[in-house]
Amino acid sequence: MTPLNGYLLLAAFLFSIGLAGALTRRNAILVLAGIELMLNAANLNFIAFWRYGAHPEALTGTMFAIFSISIAAAEAAVGLGLILAVYRHFKTTDLDEIDSLKG
């Protein structure tokens, strides 16, 4: 097994943990945490492919990872703002209880 395969397997496992958390948790904040974990797994793939790829001097993987981290930060801010707005309306962050579109 090459080192790249090890990193890819680790990223795949982290992605699956994040996906499982996002699909099964009831707390909306932890669903968002699962999504962040999936984004992190994708970042690990970018860095691993950049490090063991053909042209590491082109910095493509690093740039992808930097932009991906900034998008993840923006997504976290807007997502938590949405959760706060939903909490103000429903008085809960339990996703199984937030089941109506009409307020």
Binding site: I47, I71, A73, G81, T92
Partner: protein, 179 residues
């Protein structure tokens, strides 16, 4: 496959699994921070210093703290809330995640292309090089990113601002007057 990689991989997997399994949301976010830190050290060991430090500053410093603040602000007083940790359809979600991992692992392990060996010389990347790339080749994406971050900043503030939504909910006539 070095010892460092194995230790960090185990730490990241333990932190991530604990984050998704803990009953208490604060404990979950703290173990998520552990997973973020071990991922940052993995980036450092892959010679991506800038991304590693950015990971620590953005994820551990900002996203985790933001999540803790959100947990604090949405904490319900009554004990009957959050009695169940997992949703009713947890089995479906678990099977889906397992299926995704099986397909990904099958694709990774079935890969027959020749990759660089472990002892390839580390690419030398300084912050100067990253800055030059951002200012020249990636100048346009950088501008777009600035626009996106500004929009996200304003959007998050507008969404989370209590005064705006309360006023329009409590007094719908005021909205009609303003129109």
């Amino acid at each position: 496959m070095t010892i460092l990689f194995l230790i960090l991989a185990v730490l990241a997997i333990v932190g991530a699994s604990a984050a998704m399994a803990f009953r208490s949301a604060v404990h979950a976010i703290l173990s998520l921070a552990l997973a973020f830190v071990s991922l940052a050290i993995l980036y450092l060991s892959l010679d991506a210093q800038f991304v590693g430090f950015t990971q620590i500053i953005v994820y551990v410093g900002a996203v985790a703290i933001l999540a803790v603040f959100a947990i604090m602000m949405t904490r319900s007083d009554s004990a009957h809330h959050h009695s169940e940790v997992f949703s009713k359809s947890w089995l479906t979600g678990l099977v889906l995640a397992g299926g995704v991992f099986t397909v990904l692992a099958w694709a990774v392990l079935g890969d027959k292309t020749q990759h660089a060996a472990a002892d390839t010389p580390a690419p030398v990347t300084t912050v100067t090089q990253i800055g030059e790339a951002l200012m020249q080749r990636y100048a346009f994406p950088l501008e777009i990113m600035g626009l996106l971050l500004t929009a996200a900043l304003i959007g998050a503030v507008v969404l989370a601002m209590p005064l705006l939504s309360n006023k329009s909910a409590a007094n719908p006539a005021a909205k009609g007057d303003a129109r």
